[in-house]
Each structure stands twice: as C-alpha cells, then as structure tokens.
Symmetry: C2
Subunit: 344 residues, 2 copies
C-alpha cells in the first residue's frame, strides 16, 4: 500500500466518513463546502481523480461523486482511524449491564449480542466459548422415573449438556447418585479417547454405568467432531435500515450468511487464532459471499483452554469507529467471564 500525501489522506478520510454517515456518493463540492480545507473544488477533484486511479475510491457512474472502495476502507481503518476506545461513560454503562446479571454464560452471550448490536448499530454475533478438545468436568444423574433419568454433563469449557437417558433397568435416585459419584471418580476431566480407553473402559461396571459411559463418550466425540458452535445473533434490524439493502436480494444475502452457518464457521475458525480485533472488509477476496459486507470480529477467552468469537456484520459502509472499539470492549468482558470459569 503506497504512501499518500497528508492532503490525500485527509480527503480520503473525509470521503469515507462522509459516505459512512450519509450513504450518498461524495463530490468535490460537498467536501469543500462542508470541510473548508482552503482548497477549490477543482483541486479536490484532481486529488479525487488520483485516489480513484490508485484504487482507493470508486464511482458508481461517470458523473457521480466518489465512494470508498474496499481498499479505501482498509486504508482508512488501518492508517487513518486513531485507535479509539468507547467513551468512559459508555464503558461504564456496558460494564454495569453485565454485572447486573450474574456471572452466567448464557446471559452474558445474549447481553453481548444485544450490546454490540446497539453500540455498533449492526447485526451482531457471539459464539459460546469452546475448548479445542472437549473434557468432562462433572456429571450428574437425576431420576425422572423408574426407567428414565436426566444425565447432566458439565464440561471443562463451561458448556453443559443435558439428556434424557432410558435406563436398562428400573433404578432409583439413590442408586443413580452412586453411579454419578463412581463415574465422576473414573472420568474426572477425561477427553473422548480417555473415556473410551481409560479406567472406565476396563473397570467392572454395572449395566447402567456402562450405558452412561457410552453416552458420555458419544457426546464428547460429537463435540469434538462438530466444529459447529452455538451462535447468538441480534440486531438484524439495524442492517435492514441501511439504504444499501433497499432491494431485498441484497438483504437476502445477509440472512443467508447468518442462517447458513458454514461460511461464518470458516471465518470464525480463523479469527479464533488471531490476536485482537480483526476487520474483514468486503470478503478480502477470499469469501465471495460477503463481498459487500464487512465483519469486525474478535476472539475472546483463554488461549488454549476455551475461546469464542464476538463481532458484528454490516455493509462495508460500516461505522468502524464505533464497531471496532465496541467489539474490543465486549471481547474483553467476555474474556473475563471465561477466566473466571477457569479459576483465574
């Protein structure tokens, strides 16, 4: 990326900011009228023409103003936007909301999605934290009837699964409690392979115990196999308000991206291993399905133990100066929760 003169940078910055705010192509007159600069429209036009030649700006048609290209947005985000944080009062307000609810994963995810949608005025997404390899932390069996029980499994990364188990033989709560205790001893912090081959595999077990061990193993395997994560979403309505989605088929793409998770999964998988806030503008040539959209994503969690992703999705014409600090701040909050869950 070449170096621009400071005047070119200034003009590029104006075009980007103005277009983000108004969604209308920006012309030389608007720039001079609204920002002064002590230049004539003609001079600005020359600079605009230069910026267009260099690929930072685009024209929708020959006699229209300029709009930023993806390259223009990228230059803006990486070079022109001072690294802002949310205002302290805003930070306080958000922290307050999180501390209103208990230290509860589900609630925090929901809240994170809502706060991001609100603050960045975009669609938001939040995945649950997940360990690279699932490990059982604790299990519990609760009697439902003679022949059914609820098997509750708590995993190392804080996720919980509950399933109804049909018991091979009628069994009461007392017996189930013994089963739970026994299996907790045998399976404490085991991963899928360890459940299959560890002490639980060789010890002599009752029919029920054997059955439950199988279930645990299956569940762990399933969790490892499926990269799928629970994704909380919110704020779709904000995207819908943007003028670029006046024709439905544009908007349909957004919904498709959000509902078919496959694309998001693959992007999320990459962001997980990154540091800090990642800004993906116009698909970056790698994801065609989002070539008109931008993602601002950040991993959160505890490196190597459990992590997830928070972020927002919007048109490339996104208020980056709000989205980026908002995502950064929410990721930090979510990390603190995960740290708690790992006893840090």
């Amino acid at each position: 990326m070449e170096q621009l003169t400071s005047r070119q940078e200034e003009i590029l910055g104006i075009v980007v900011r103005e277009y983000i705010a108004s969604a209308v192509p920006v012309g030389s007159q608007t720039i001079v009228r609204r920002y002064g600069l002590g230049l004539s429209p003609a001079t600005v036009r020359n600079e605009l023409a230069f910026l267009e030649r260099e690929g930072y700006l685009l024209q929708t048609h020959a006699s229209a103003g300029r709009i930023p290209s993806d390259k223009g947005y990228r230059y803006f985000v990486h070079r022109l936007m001072q690294e802002t944080e949310l205002s302290p009062s805003e930070q306080r307000m958000i922290s307050h909301q999180f501390h209103q609810v208990q230290l509860e994963l589900q609630q925090w995810m929901k809240l994170a999605a809502a706060v991001l949608a609100q603050t960045a005025r975009s669609a938001s997404l939040v995945t649950a934290p997940k360990a690279p390899q699932a490990r059982l932390k604790h299990l519990e069996m609760i009697s439902l009837s003679d022949v059914t029980a609820l098997l509750v499994m708590v995993f190392q990364d804080g996720s919980i699964r509950q399933q109804v188990v049909l018991l091979p033989t009628p069994t009461g709560q007392d017996e189930l409690t013994k089963v739970s205790n026994h299996l907790n001893e045998l399976l404490g912090s085991a991963n899928a392979a360890e459940v299959r081959t560890g002490p639980a595999a060789t010890a002599s077990l009752t029919a029920i115990e054997r059955h439950v061990v199988d279930r645990v193993a299956e569940t762990l395997e399933q969790m490892d196999r499926r990269s799928e994560r629970e994704i909380h979403r919110d704020g779709l309505i904000h995207v819908l308000r943007q003028p670029e989605f006046a024709q439905v088929d544009k908007f349909r793409q957004v919904v498709e991206v959000l509902e078919r998770r496959s694309l998001l999964e693959s992007i999320i998988a990459e962001v997980l291993w990154a540091n800090g806030v990642q800004v993906i503008i116009g698909g970056e040539g790698r994801w065609d399905d989002i070539e008109d959209y931008s993602l601002v994503l950040s991993p959160y969690g505890v490196r190597g133990e459990a992590n997830g992703v928070v972020g927002v999705l919007g048109p490339t014409r996104m208020p980056y100066d709000r989205a980026i600090p908002a995502v950064r701040f929410v990721a930090r909050l979510m990390s603190s929760l995960v740290e708690h869950m790992y006893g840090y």
Copy 2:
C-alpha cells in the same frame, strides 16, 4: 360466518389455493382455463363478485383479479381444508431425524425449528418448555478455583442454569460437594417462596450455604418474574423469498416482530392455554403489528407442568396445508420429549 353454496366454496378454494401458489391475483379466466368446472368466465365472475360482496375476497384495484381476504383465508382454513396430516413418509423422515440426536432439549428445539422452517417453508419459532412456577430439582457445585465455583441448577421443567459464584471463603471441592448435598436435601423441589421461607431459611447454614441459597432464590424469582422464554428461530430466509416482501419495509416488520419479542410473548402466552394448532390470520384484529402475517402455532408439553410453543410465521398467503400438519406433528414430537422429562 354464512353458509356458501358448494360452488362458491369450490371457487373460493380455487382462488385461495391458486393465490397461495402463485402470489398473483386470480381472475375468472384463469379459473375456467385451469380448472374447467364447466362454467363460463361470466358465471365465475358473478360468483366472484358475490364472494367479494360478502368479504371473502378483495381486489387490489378495480380491474385486477381477486385475492383472498383474511376472512377468506379463515373460511378456507376452517371449512375447506380437510384436516390433513403429513405424508407417512415425511413423518417417518422427521421422526428419524429427531431420534438421531439423543433425547436432548437444546438439540430438539433446534431441530424442531429447522424442520418446521423446511416443511412449512416459513420462518419458524420454538420456545423452550417452561413451568408456570419454577422449582429447583437439583443443584451442584463444582470447584473452579479456591474462591470460585460453578453453581449448576437443574429445574423441574428441564431447564438448566449455570453461574459462576464467588465464594466468601476459600473452599475445595470436597466441601462444595457437602454443601451441594446438604442444600439438595433442604431445597428439593422448592419454589422461590419455599426457598425463602422453608427449612433452608431457618436451618443454621454456613456462609457459603447461605450465599448459595440466596442465589437459588434469586434465580427462581427471576425465572418466575420474567415471562420471557428462550425462542429459537429459523427459516427467515423463506419469508424473504416471498414476493410480498419485495419492498424492504414490509420485511422490516417481520424482523421487528421476531427480534422485539414483546409481541410474540403476548401471543405465545395465549396459545399456551389453547388446545391444538392455532391459526392466527392477519392479526385477527387484535395485533396490529402482524396484520399482514399469519401465525400457525401449537402448544406442546405437559399440561400444568411445563409447556412451550412451536410454530411458524409467514405472510397471510401461507401454505396452510403444509404448515398446519407440520406444526401439529412437531408439537407432538416435542410433547413426547417433555413427557419423558417428567417421567411419563
């Protein structure tokens, strides 16, 4: 609702079905050409005029074909649509999908939403089953660090909440297990009031126990207070494909209805007490926000113990003949899961 002659019913049925299929106003020629009937267009026109006078049909403008009014749709749904079920093969396919995954609430809800969206080609919604009054079934404390623990609460209706608890004094897992056991004895199947005033309130408790009891009480109270339910959604994309949402502002309403839960909450609250599939066409004059949409909803669960709602949302021009049997069938499946969770 007056009685129509069988020929009028036949013509009304044709208009409704044809319009649902094509989204194009239906004229006399189309009816005669495509359905024969042994009548001339003029005769059909007379009948159409009659049906319009009686309020079953509408014209978008004076020289256009007819489209069904809400009243027309209602007559169709209640009188003309034979009570169909899904085809046995379709039922088998769906059942099979549910039995592929374990008897697991989260998975079943997700699956139910996906299956409904697919089958009814509409947006679907599924709420978790919820008891009218929350009761604790079981709690478990799992050590995270000296001073933090994970409190897992399992409730009677099968819902689970986990939260991180900051311990007043450093405590190990052994001690936490004792706390869990003790509190399970004291609190077994207690509701909020019973936790506050029952044995747990008077017994002499350690600081940790007192703290946890407070947390349990707060959580139960919160669950009772908030009528809010977790709502799984899916299939928004299907709604987006319908031609009536070619202009975005129409579609914006749908997203608003689905994202702001308040309206849905109130409708769901009513459906919960109904029997069988409820069809709400065009807001029924009571919910202005959905006057262009229809809901097909059904309660499921165990009466008085825990219930929820499954259903679909789409334009009034909805494929009722698929949506209704699909909702009915999925509700039945979800009920069977809840019955299991109550040991029936």
